[in-house]
Symmetry: C2
């Protein structure tokens, strides 16, 4: 089995590499045609996809999967239409491949151009909803990359049906059948084998929980871009506009709780804590948020606030829970975030320019906000059009990862016979 799997993956890798060479030379027009054809195929094959999904749901029930898990797997005609439309929308995005990033001449007359090129072959290992199959693949494709997908076992039939539609759409536009391939195995060994295919795969993006990301990171020989979740904070400075601060805290905590750019921690300058906290806590309690606080917070808000333990400062609740700490000054807020935060998204609310500048520059996170909700750390909100996720890494891509972050570059050097002396 593992030998067969290894051979299968070797073949998938070789085919992806061949496809990537053709994709790298494909025009924007052809790639857009392929995206439209993929969307059309998904529309047309709605029934086949739903039947496959039905099979996943049946198998999942038999295996005793939770209803939440089954819900994430479930497709219906409307969801499939949304999936097709997401692919269609990529047509409007600017093709990053071929962009001239820089151009300069050297004293010896050499003309150097740094141009954007596709990365090559991107591996995506995911365990989430089946729409990742077409969403991630189409985004990578638009940038000119070939894709190898490895989805979770609970959606294997749905993923195969969607991948089939994607592959046919590519062929409709004259692009290689193997531009996008799904690993046809739910064997866990496939993840490890993929992570070692650095001969063919230039980048792996694991999409899923911590244990999946850890497993891929440990095994991978090629670069991995991680999308860990976030321990994010809002710091309400003593010079904050209280109404604005309250709205930002409520938005950052409550608008969606199970996302990486929602906050888990509220830091409040102790000089304003007595005025600000009761008002803000009221708004949070109204929305059902459980508050945990340090001694001063408890003193101000009373026994409804549970004491926050040391581990609360570094826990990602992904739930309606917020840890509150009072700090003596801006520096303590910055230090708290540096020590307990996950360098994802953090915000300061203040009318004090100098304090804001200091916070923006000293907080070492992918996105640092001044008088705005952390929830804006998102490819769509940044204007990238679509994103494959929010990178928690510092190299190659940090923060929202859109089309540009799915490219590499190369140098073209034009001379008139120059040799090195």
């Amino acid at each position: 089995m593992t030998l067969n799997l290894s051979l299968t993956l070797e073949q998938i890798g070789q085919r992806a590499q061949s496809a990537s060479r053709i994709l790298a030379q494909a025009t924007t027009e052809t790639k857009n045609e392929a995206l439209l054809a993929i969307a059309r195929r998904i529309d047309e094959e709605t029934e086949a996809i739903l039947a496959a999904n039905e099979g996943d749901l049946r198998a999942g029930s038999e295996r005793g999967l939770s209803s939440a898990m089954l819900d994430r797997t479930r497709l219906d005609p409307k969801r499939i239409q949304t999936i097709a439309n997401s692919v269609r929308e990529l047509v409007n995005l600017t093709d990053p491949a071929g962009e001239v990033l820089k151009q300069w001449s050297r004293p010896n007359g050499l003309k150097i151009s740094k141009i954007r090129v596709p990365i090559g072959v991107i591996g995506i290992i995911y365990e989430s909803r089946p729409n990742v199959t077409s969403d991630a693949a189409s985004l990578c494709l638009k940038a000119g990359n070939a894709v190898i997908l490895r989805g979770g076992s609970e959606s294997i039939r749905s993923n195969m049906a969607l991948a089939e539609a994607v592959s046919r759409g590519c062929q409709d536009a004259g692009l290689p059948e193997h531009s996008v391939q799904l690993v046809p195995s739910t064997d866990r060994a496939a993840v490890t084998l993929m992570a070692q295919l650095d001969r063919y795969i230039h980048l792996i993006i694991p999409r899923g929980g911590r244990s999946l990301i850890e497993a891929v990171t440990s095994a991978a020989r090629m670069p991995v871009i991680k999308h860990f979740d976030g321990i994010c904070a809002v710091y309400v400075d003593r010079a904050a506009d209280f109404r604005m601060a309250e709205q930002i805290v409520v938005n950052a905590k409550c608008q969606r709780t199970a996302v990486c750019n929602a906050i888990e921690t509220l830091l409040v300058h102790d000089e304003i804590a007595r005025q600000f906290l009761p008002q803000c806590a009221g708004a949070l309690w109204e929305r059902g948020v459980e508050l945990r606080g340090d001694a001063m917070t408890q003193e101000i808000l009373g026994s409804k606030v549970r004491p926050a333990a040391e581990e609360d400062w570094s826990t990602e609740y992904l739930d309606l829970i917020l840890a509150i700490r009072t700090v003596r000054n801006l520096e303590d807020a910055i230090e708290h975030i540096g020590k307990y935060g996950s360098h994802h998204s953090d915000a300061i609310v203040t009318e004090d320019d100098a304090a804001a500048r200091k916070f923006l520059h000293q907080v070492d996170s992918a996105a640092v906000f001044w008088n705005a909700s952390t929830r804006f750390n998102d490819g769509g909100e940044f204007g990238f059009g679509a994103e494959i996720g929010i990178s928690t890494d510092r190299l190659h891509a940090r923060g929202p990862m859109g089309l540009e972050e799915l490219t590499s570059y190369k140098y073209l050097v034009e001379g008139t016979g120059q040799v090195r002396g």
Copy 2:
């Protein structure tokens, strides 16, 4: 021992992390002061460094190291002055940290800035000459990074003396003592332990032979930027200027042989092979180059040319040996390079614009040259001022890796109370 080593590395990591926070906020002025102080310390401590080096050479002789190896380790007053001057020259380079890479506003009024920031903590694992200790550390430092160095056992005493001078220079300028640290152990386990310190080290750059790079790549949990050697080619098109082609081939092969951007392969369009090859071979033989060729090359150049075997096309000689192949057309040349090359540096010599454009765009290498020697794929030649190496990776840094490639970025977002709807 391994437990102690593990604790030592943990401490080194923590100290580097603390230092990196201060370095990230250091002004260009302070960093330049530190560079000058480092150079001064190296000058002043020349005798101590030479004494340490003497110890390395004695220990190396006793261990029976080859004279080539001992030569690479050997320092003298002139070499030490060169080392100090290399550090001094970094003062003139533009500090990349803080540069605004992009700035835009969103319809909701959010102002987003993408700014360059240091990567954080960079690990350098090397086995080459002791000058890497100060060269690599100073370059990383100028971009605002903390550095953890792990050099080879043959230079441990020299490296420690140099690292001590670097660390003192940092302190002279008020920067942390632990901005640059050398792992004080020649135990091989230190490499593996370092590769697993992803809590503290954001990037590892292995500088050395293939086996070192492979070992680091397999063990590393953080991003690794590899600097593998190159299998580079010059393709002489049918529309080439023969004199220019000959000069480029001779330069790319002979100017320095043991470097990654020297060529190992010459591809010649078969229509011009009979005219071009004898002339070019004469110039190569004059410089003592051994030629290995395909059947047509042998037929044209005679028995002095050894037959090239399949493995010759993918061998990095790093020596005065050149493999020659005739090709039927441009496409075959591009295909050969895609199949056997290492995507490092490749060149076309031609007066035909269309052929050149096709080659530049279809050859998937870090730098592709038209009518110029592959030897120009170099940070200095590109105008980067200094380089830490030539990356053979595709992510984060590709090709010459200078100061800019030693940085990451972050987003600063300024609002007026925006929340996400």
